[in-house]
Each structure stands twice: as C-alpha cells, then as structure tokens.
Symmetry: C3
Subunit: 137 residues, 3 copies
C-alpha cells in the first residue's frame, strides 16, 4: 500500500469564502503514484468545511445564504462566552461537513462531470489548513 | 491491497426519490473479495445524496419534508440565473452529504441492525450515477 | 495492508448527550500498529452521529439548540406512526452525519489543534455502538 500526505494552507481576505481545490487534490494524487485507492480531503479547523459541488457562483451565494439563515453570524451564541465571535462558523462546519473522500481510479479523481472540490472558509482572515491523505496501490 | 470499482445507474420517475442500495453495495464488496477494508458509496452528481438510515417510509417522508423546509423547491435561487431550476437540489445535496464510507469486516458491510444505505435523488427523471469503491485485503 | 476493528459501547443517562471519544480512537489506532492510513469512526445506529469539533460546552449547547430548531423533539413526525417517538433523532443523525474519517500520520490521528472527535447521542438511555475501523500500513 502507498500513502501520501499533504497540507494546503489558506488565508482568506473575507470571513466567509469558497475556494476550489480540485486541481491541488489531483496534483497530490498524481505525486502519490496511486492508481487505485481513496483520497481524504479534510479541514483541520472547526470553523471551515470541505464539500463537493458545482463551480457556479450563483450556487455559492445560495449556499452562503442558506447557511446564514440556519446559523447566522452575530447571533448571541453560548460559545461567545469564551470571548470568541465565531459560534456561527462552528455550526456551519457541522452543516456542510468538514471532509470528503474521493475515489482514485486509474490515477485520477473519480468525480462526476460537474463535481468540484471546495474549501469553505467560515471564519477566515487568518492561516488555516486542510489535510490531503491518499492511500492505495 | 485489493480494490474494486463499480458504478450504479439511476433513472427515477420522480424528481425526488429515495432508493435502497444496501444489497448492491454488498454484492460489489463480495465481488471484490475484500475481507477487511472500507467501501465508499458516493453520488457522482451535485443534486443527489447518499445516506445511511432506517428503511421506513415514514422517516423518508419526514426527511423529505425537513429538506423541503430548509431548501424549498421552486424558490428564487441565484443558481437559477444559469437557466437551471434545481437550486434546491444542490442545497439538499450539501445538507444530506453525498457519500458514506462503510467498514468491511469478514467480507460483510459492518452496519448496525437498522442501518440501510440509500441513494437520495433530488433532481431526477434523467440518468445519474453512484460510484462504489472498495479497498482492503 | 493492516486493519483493525473495534466497537465502542455507549449507554447515556440523557436522551441527547455529546461524548468525547478522541482518546479511544487514538488508542485503537495505536493498537493497530498502523503508521500511515485512515480510521473511520461511524455510529452503528440511525439516531446518533459522530462529528469533529471543539471540546467547548457552549458550542455543544449551540449545536443542540440548532438541531432542536431544525428537527424538534416531540413534533408529530410520520415516523411516529410506527409507535416510535424518535423521529427527531433520525433527522439529527442526517444533519450531523453519522461518521468521520481521520487521517493517520506517523501513528497519530492527524487532527488540527482544536479538533476533537465526538459521539452525538440523539436517542439515548439504551446501549448503542460505534465502529472504529483503521486501515493502512
């Protein structure tokens, strides 16, 4: 079995931002030499997510709006008693999920035609990380 | 390490439909010859999901109703400026998540007594795919 | 390829309860002898979840409150026509997701500084299980 580990760093301008990472994940898989296996793409922070969906700006606005309606920024969360102001970002992390697993087939990400991998930042403007872990043969 | 890849095709009658696939996933695992490992079951579309829950029609209605209340069909989504009418289905894909990983133990799906694997179609009436990827020994 | 399987049992005092299991998952990984791979932590019940987030009591209250607002206990769910009263717990399982996959790097859970693994019980006061499956080299 082969394995390969890589970390992506992000430092967004905005508090909430959605960044396509499909190409970086494919590069990590290519470096690994794995032909058949799986690659995990997982946020290492509790206020960010990783998802697979369309690379379409309208959808990203819809997603952002739904998340804001379910877990609005600036609400009086219990978590804020710690001095933090990012309670909404913790909840958005849960709703979106913080990770995806992508099958590797013949050395490529085995995604459908419209599937793209995104990093979802919910509390940005500081350095944060995603781990990529590929295993297979 | 062994690996096995299979694709399931769906073409539902209804826009939203929930289809049990546990048996097909177990068959793929049996064909793989894997005794110990993991199998990924992942929608290849951005308007469908895969989940594990009870095979109980009442629950499926409750799920459908909750998803409709959080991301209603027919709302004026930004995504619709592309000419599409399935903005709700993209959001339901995010809420339900598009994949599950099932442990394989002694050649069987290591599921609890009530756990069944479902394909969740949110924008059907056309051909769509799920990838099954098993890895292990 | 090595693999290791373990089951954690839970029997909570309360209907809804959130229990940190990071240490137990790390112990299972240590026992496995795996240095590079992945470990799946997955609820075996349809009324429980597994998530990764902060070990902070305020956040857990915020999460519980959000889940209660999206899928309230005691509502008149279709699932209750079976005689059950836990329709809310099935929906909470979907929203939180029932599993996480954690990368194993140099024999350790490759988590960010604040990431802890939690079992989320939504219909407790009886014996329930989580499966831990590690694979790698």
């Amino acid at each position: 079995m082969k394995s390969h580990t890589e970390y992506l760093w992000f430092h967004t301008d905005q508090r909430r931002q959605y960044i396509r990472v499909t190409e970086q994940v494919q590069e990590a898989v290519s470096k690994s030499g794995i032909q058949e296996g799986m690659v995990l793409v997982s946020a290492m922070h509790i206020t960010a997510g990783v998802f697979v969906n369309d690379d379409e700006p309208g959808f990203r606005e819809d997603l952002d709006q739904m998340l804001e309606s379910l877990a609005p920024f600036g609400q009086d969360y219990q978590h804020h008693q710690t001095g933090e102001d990012n309670g909404d970002a913790h909840l958005k992390n849960i709703l979106v999920h913080h990770q995806v697993v992508i099958p590797i087939t013949e050395g490529k990400l085995d995604l459908g035609p419209w599937q793209q991998v995104f990093y979802a930042e919910f509390d940005g403007r500081r350095r944060k990380r995603v781990v990529i872990k590929a295993i297979g043969d």
